[in-house]
């Protein structure tokens, strides 16, 4: 009996071994050359400072998030233009611990550059330092790594640009004259308050003299509260022509309120939103235009910046200037950041080009 049991066990073990053994080494011959091909030219290219054969890695906060997938499209576009390879990989969940594990594996492979949207600006500093000490340039985008842990950061937008574009949009929509209101997030939200200040400054300009900002209300970034506040605005101000909502929750709720109240064409909603969430309202005319930075451009610019540093065109110091393909020329600011530029306006003409 003992013999039989030992034999059976042996068979089982061999079965397991064969399963692991046959798949892994069997895959190896196809895999190994691929790795070798990628690695070898990269090593050769390093001293030559060619951009042609570099491999960069584009790391989002987490995989499977449409916003980051869109950013990757831009990164791949830049890669094709530059003739470099850009790999898209990251943690399964948007979590710093896992992101660091991913980054460590990438540093270990000796990739040529890292472009990262950080889950935790401080926690990634030691990892970023480690990468830079190993000769791997680091650029952060979307969410910054704190200074000291990266060569440069690509900033999606500045507060003034965001304020200005929203006033321009509302002015276009209401024909340059009439009452408007702002539906914000919470009354203490620092981003929104800063943007609203810039909007007010912009509205003081003579070309907006006929526009009257009647009130600012707060929907607390809750869908139902924002919806009710929007209905309240339309009841209180029957002549209201425009609502600016500088928050993704508020803008969708306000557009829905305008639709439900059958005021499409009389009251126009604009502000900051995402294409997938606003598509319906752009098409119905409740919110014909809204703005946000284009994540694809953000990814595109980050790869150009990374390539400029990795190939030694620039050092990544404040004041350095580099070319970024279709986006033009950029300069690194005093704090090591690069500003993407004015937000992108989404409307009926371009909304179907975006999926995030």
């Amino acid at each position: 009996m003992k013999k039989i049991s030992a034999l059976l066990l042996l068979v089982l073990m061999i079965g397991v071994l064969a399963a692991c053994g046959s798949t892994e080494p069997a895959a190896a011959p196809t895999e190994a050359p691929a790795v070798a091909e990628e690695a070898a030219p990269a090593e050769e290219a390093a001293p030559a400072e060619e951009s042609g054969s570099k491999t960069y890695v584009f790391v989002p906060k987490g995989l499977g998030i449409p916003y980051f997938d869109t950013a990757n499209k831009g990164a791949q576009e830049a890669a094709a233009e530059l003739g470099v390879a850009v790999t898209y990989t990251g943690p399964a969940t948007a979590d710093a611990t896992e992101q660091i594990q991913v980054l460590n594996a990438l540093i270990a492979q000796g990739v040529d550059g890292l472009s990262i949207s950080a889950n935790d600006s401080d926690a990634l500093v030691p990892t970023g330092k480690d990468a830079m000490e190993s000769g791997i340039p680091v650029v952060s985008w979307d969410a910054a790594i704190a200074e000291g842990g990266r060569n440069a950061h690509i900033n999606q937008a500045d507060a003034e640009g965001i304020g200005v574009v929203q006033v321009e949009m509302v002015s276009d929509l209401i024909g340059g004259a009439g009452q408007i209101a702002i539906l914000s997030a919470t009354s203490t939200a620092p981003n929104q308050n800063e943007w609203i200040e810039y909007m007010k400054t912009e509205l003081e300009k003579p070309e907006y003299a006929d526009i009257e900002l009647v009130t600012v209300v707060y929907g607390d970034d809750e869908d139902e509260k924002s919806y009710n506040e929007a209905i309240g605005l339309m009841r209180t101000y029957p002549d209201l022509k425009g609502i600016i909502s500088p928050t993704t929750v508020g803008i969708a709720a306000a557009a829905r309120a305008v639709q439900d109240q059958e005021r499409v064409g009389e009251v126009f909603v604009t502000g900051l939103g995402t294409p997938n969430q606003m598509r319906e309202y752009v098409k119905s005319g409740a919110a014909p235009a809204f703005a946000l930075w284009n994540p694809a451009d953000l990814g595109y610019l980050s790869i150009y910046a990374l390539n400029a540093i990795a190939t030694g065109q620039i050092e990544g110091k404040p004041g350095d200037t580099f070319e970024a393909g279709k986006l033009g020329s950029y300069t690194i600011a005093e704090d090591g950041s690069v500003l993407l530029g004015a937000p992108t306006v989404f409307n009926i003409d371009n909304i179907d080009d975006f999926d995030f």
Partner: protein
């Protein structure tokens, strides 16, 4: 378990399969990428798993007694947050660290008291404290991060020893692994854990102080979670209340993969440590060939199911009275299908990479 202790039985142990798998994974990894067998890289990867390892040691004790502690990652976050908060109030970092360890003991005591004294099921108790302790972490720090730790402190997580850069956190882990192994194998306390896991009532009548034993293991868990939190804070150079979210499941996975029975009564410390090494090697190896996180989770998940299935089928096959019946064939088929799926997944993920 059979009474006869033959050579066959010795090699039948789950630990040997783990050793074999580690060996295999090492060879495959080394063949697949030239970066795997690089001391610096291996050391860097090691430090990624040390917090998990520190929390795993007391978890082995808890699961051997047939209990579970789901609150480890939450305790870790709470204790690290307290330390960060105290540090930001101007408290000396070492005092803050001591306070964090004390809070860990206290949090573990609360778990242990409810489980051992009030006799509530540990799954429910720690599911409750899992939410409660995480909430406390947010209450302490809100959505901000504690930062600015002195360099003498961040050495705990970032420091390394010698020219091969052996991480300091790994030294810490080895010290505690030895201590916990000695407790399990050399002290009566360790024997009691198995007794409680096999038959708590019988243990009680045999004179085992069940309440005190359980209380102690949950306190150990709290203490080690606090220590893990301190190491993690030191490695990150900052503390956020959301650190280590979901880590409790990774800890339990390592313990179960190590052959510790989830229903209690059996399992070894060396098995759990081997499983930790295996998971670490596999994750690092898969990371090196750029298999994304979700893919890694699929592989680890399959491995976990196989780790319960194979010994189960193996035991039945070797139990002496092999009868070919439907249930037996079914189980073997399931095992084989799992292995096949595992293989297919590997092929599939590799082809993706090449493309």
């Amino acid at each position: 378990m059979t009474s006869k202790q033959s050579l066959g039985d010795f090699f039948k142990r789950w630990e040997w399969l783990l050793v074999l798998l580690i060996f295999l994974v090492t060879i495959v990894n080394a063949r697949l990428t030239p970066y795997f067998l690089d001391t610096r890289n291996l050391m860097r990867a090691t430090s990624d798993f040390m917090e998990l390892g520190l929390m795993m040691l007391p978890m082995v004790f808890i699961i051997i007694t047939g209990n579970i502690d789901l609150s480890v990652a939450s305790m870790m976050a709470m204790c690290a947050s307290l330390m960060g908060w105290l540090h930001m109030q101007g408290t000396n970092i070492w005092v803050a660290m001591a306070a964090a360890l004390l809070l860990g003991l206290l949090a573990g005591f609360l778990n242990g008291y409810l489980v051992a004294r009030v006799k509530l099921p540990s799954l429910v108790v720690t599911l409750g404290t899992f939410a409660f302790y995480r909430g406390m972490a947010y209450a302490l720090l809100g959505d901000q991060a504690a930062r600015g730790y002195p360099e003498s402190f961040t050495f705990l997580g970032q420091g390394s020893i010698g020219s091969i850069r052996f991480p300091f956190s790994a030294v810490l882990f080895i010290i505690f692994a030895v201590i916990f192994s000695l407790i399990l194998y050399k002290l009566k306390f360790g024997r009691y854990l198995y007794v409680i896991g096999n038959n708590e009532e019988a243990g009680f009548y045999a004179g085992v102080n069940v309440v005190r034993t359980k209380l102690l293991i949950f306190m150990m868990s709290g203490f080690m979670s606090a220590l893990a939190g301190i190491v993690l804070a030191a490695r990150f150079g900052s503390t956020r209340p959301d650190i280590g979210t979901g880590l409790e499941l990774a800890v339990i996975t390592a313990v179960v993969l190590g052959g510790v029975s989830i229903s209690g009564g059996s399992g070894t410390m060396i098995g759990a440590i081997l499983a930790l090494v295996l998971i670490g090697e596999m994750r690092f190896g898969m990371g090196l060939i750029n298999i994304p996180g979700q893919g890694q989770n699929i592989v680890i998940g399959f491995l976990l199911i196989l780790s319960i299935l194979i010994p189960h089928v193996g035991r039945e096959l070797t139990s002496g009275n092999v009868k070919v019946n439907k249930a037996m064939v079914g189980k073997t088929a399931v095992a084989l299908i799992m292995i096949a799926l595992f293989a297919i997944f590997f092929f599939w993920s590799r082809t993706l990479l090449i493309a």
